[in-house]
């Protein structure tokens, strides 16, 4: 057995000083190309996700701003532990930034070097989704290797609209959270840090995802959804969140997970489709008062509603589906966004391999299998 007490494993600028171990790590060593320029990641933390009417009509929780700041602190500590020196963050006036400032000042006094340099993107604060678009674009332009997103399905959708090929890593702080997986943010931070610094091969670290595109009148208006496109006979946007099920008529999903809540749960409880499966699902719905085919669906936290089901079929990628409903509203990832009338032609198309996410599970399995975190703290990759 090789004694690792004195082994120094140098990989480009990465140095890991291994502690005594009964396992031979040499077989796990592999060559990784690590970018020697400043490695940075982005963070988009939405201070106003999980604030909508579902706190009243259901029992949705509302993650406090201080909790969101703590989540960001966890991510910062984790990416720094992987060697990330610089983090770019979306500025906001919802309280996260000011709590982080206080937290980082406090930590600086207690312990050196546990956190990376934190910079805010030089973008305007309007308190709307435009902030997310602008900050994401600034992060992409500055070459971040990945973007950590704190929010629900809507926030992730906003980032995905702009991020291009930059992978995103989701942390659930929204209401339904079908898209971001539930996971301890420190682990997400570690996975992002290891992936961003090139310690995990891209083929392992990143996953390609499906996406739905809605086009009205050949692109006169268009938008995307990461999880579901729902057509309702309601015809005004109002408070945005969608929860009334008697008006639902069609749903298109990229994946149908029976373990999530929200609109995509309708599809998930009829025919599960995983994120990695080919195609999605298209379900035709009816007013539960006029059909005998009823389904009980967890439509919001603590709210199980009856949905009338007509039929469902596989949604093949690349083929535009024209809506059956002639007028109403279209909800994207659970929020009413687009109104349409009889004069409009609306088409929904599923696209495969549309954007990238950090596969946190795969990253951490790879990390364990290759003992990437064995040894002394990782050095900063930078500068």
């Amino acid at each position: 057995m090789f004694d690792f007490r004195f082994v120094v494993w140098t990989l480009c600028t990465l140095t890991i000083k291994c502690k005594p171990s009964p396992v031979n790590l040499s077989s796990k060593q592999h060559s990784l190309s690590i970018n020697s320029s400043t490695i940075s990641v982005g963070i988009v933390a939405n201070p106003v996700s999980a604030r909508d009417i579902r706190r009243v009509i259901a029992n949705a929780t509302s993650l406090q701003v201080s909790d969101r700041a703590n989540i960001v602190m966890c991510v910062l500590a984790a990416v720094r532990a992987c060697g990330v020196k610089r983090v770019l963050m979306m500025p906001e006036n919802g309280g996260i930034r000011s709590l982080l400032k206080r937290g980082l000042q406090r930590e600086q006094k207690l312990c050196d070097n546990r956190f990376p340099e934190l910079e805010m993107t030089d973008t305007q604060i309007s308190g709307t989704v435009d902030d997310t678009f602008a900050a994401t674009q600034a992060m992409v332009d500055s070459g971040v290797k990945a973007i950590v997103v704190l929010g629900g399905d809507g926030t992730h959708r906003a980032v995905a609209k702009v991020c291009g090929q930059v992978p995103i890593a989701g942390i659930s702080t929204g209401t339904n959270n079908a898209f971001p997986e539930h996971r301890e943010p420190t682990i997400t931070g570690l996975a992002v840090g290891l992936a961003a610094t090139g310690r995990i091969p891209e083929s392992v670290a990143f996953t390609l995802n499906k996406l739905l595109c809605v086009k009205i009148n050949d692109g006169e208006r268009s938008d995307i959804a990461l999880v579901d496109v729902v057509v309702s006979t309601e015809r005004y946007i109002g408070a945005r969140a969608l929860w009334r099920t008697d008006n639902l008529r069609e749903i298109f999903v990229t994946f149908a997970d029976p373990e999530v809540i929200g609109m995509s749960a309708i599809a998930g409880l009829l025919e599960p489709v995983s994120r990695n499966d080919f195609g999605g699902l298209h379900v035709l719905l009816d007013d539960p008062e006029v059909t005998e085919n009823l389904l009980q669906v967890p439509i919001a936290p603590g709210l199980i509603s009856t949905v009338g089901v007509q039929s469902w079929q596989q949604l093949e990628p690349g083929i535009p589906f024209t809506l059956r409903q002639s007028s109403g509203i279209i909800a994207l990832d659970g929020e009413r966004e687009l109104e349409f009338g009889p004069e409009d032609t609306v088409q929904v198309t599923l696209y495969e391999k549309a954007f990238r996410t950090v596969n946190v599970g795969a990253c951490m399995r790879h990390t364990g299998q290759h003992r990437l975190l064995v040894g002394a703290p990782l050095e900063l990759l930078a500068t």
């Binding site: 701003v65 006036n93 005004y236 109002g238």
Partner: protein, 327 residues
């Protein structure tokens, strides 16, 4: 399917527009009249915030009570207080709704369920709790609304009221009208707990944030919250994120605001414009409908100002009336 996509009839939508337009014209005119020096005391204008008062008050009944703030004209108009009586009150005239002795910050009309604007920050919340307790005993499904600004939300009275409402499960709704400034201090500097939803959950009640410049967003959210309160679901908090077109008070130089900020919000976030655009685009109301309404409102405000100017001031003996009330 009906051609009206909204959950309100054509007549109801026209009434809502009329209310919002009346608040806007009332405030724009008070702004002008105050600059002429005919109005005593301070005035704090509600222009730009009409969607909040109207979106909430559309759900209220006559016996529901509201407790307003120093910026209370919009709440009064939306709750049905007589516009001419309000204008006379602001001018300090005997024909005012409070005999000209209250002025802008103390307009009240109990017959309409309007318990008063209030010059003391945060003082409306305990009043609303009292009204809600009475409503709970009467058991007729009435509710109370407490309006509060982002600055006054830091007052002890407000926080104590949240606690009281929660432990007694009162039919009360706390509406935080967050226009971003406590007088001249940005909310970012003044409120330690940046989310009012967080604050509500700290007192064991649900909180919701809506775009307070979007009438339909406020209307829908307020409808669910008020229904919950009527049915015994207890208190909740509604934060309306909004903007004000004028300064904190008339005469405020607004040096704390960014250059062009007011022009920008008037151009891009005017709730009245967005309401008009939405209902006309849907074909439910026509531009002619709205213009006819505008004319009616203008003549009402003109009449209100003329009659207020012509009215008499209270006399010395009036100082001794309305001091005590026999129950």
């Amino acid at each position: 399917m009906s051609d009206n996509p909204f959950p309100l009839s054509r007549d109801e939508l026209l009434n809502i527009y009329q209310t919002m337009r009346t608040i806007r014209e009332f405030e724009e005119r008070v702004h002008v009249e105050f600059s002429r020096g005919d109005i005593p005391g301070f005035v704090h204008l509600y222009a730009g915030e009409e969607a909040s008062a109207t979106g909430i008050m559309t759900h209220l009944r006559k016996d529901d009570r509201i407790a307003s703030t120093h910026r209370g004209h919009g709440h009064c108009i939306a709750k049905g207080v007589d516009v001419k009586g309000m204008m006379a009150e602001i001018f300090g005239k005997k024909t005012g709704v409070c005999g000209g002795k209250g002025g802008s910050m103390h307009i009240a009309d109990l017959d309409k369920g309007m318990m008063g604007a209030n010059g003391i920050l945060g003082a409306g919340a305990p009043l609303a709790c009292g009204a809600a307790l009475a409503a709970k005993y009467r058991d007729k499904g009435d509710i109370a609304i407490s309006f509060v600004g982002d600055g006054a939300s830091n007052q002890g009275t407000f926080l104590e009221s949240l606690n009281l409402a929660s432990i007694w499960n009162l039919p009360v709704v706390f509406v935080v009208e967050n226009n971003g400034y406590a007088e001249a201090t940005s909310v970012d500097w003044a409120v330690a707990c940046d989310s009012y939803v967080d604050r509500a959950s700290g007192f064991g009640m649900p909180g919701v944030t809506v775009d307070g410049t979007d009438f339909f967003a406020v209307y829908e959210a307020a409808g669910e919250i008020i229904r919950r309160a009527r049915e015994g679901g207890g208190p909740s908090l509604l934060e309306c994120k909004m903007i004000r077109f004028f300064g904190h008070f008339e005469g405020d130089m607004q040096t704390y605001r960014a250059e062009g900020e007011v022009d920008d919000i008037r151009a891009k976030r005017d709730c009245l414009k967005s309401f008009s655009k939405t209902v006309t685009a849907a074909g439910v109301l026509s531009q002619e409908d709205l213009e006819a309404c505008d004319m009616d409102v203008l003549s009402l405000i003109e009449e209100a100002v003329s009659s207020a100017l012509a009215a008499e001031l209270p006399i010395e003996a009036d100082l001794l009336t309305d001091v005590y009330v026999n129950y």
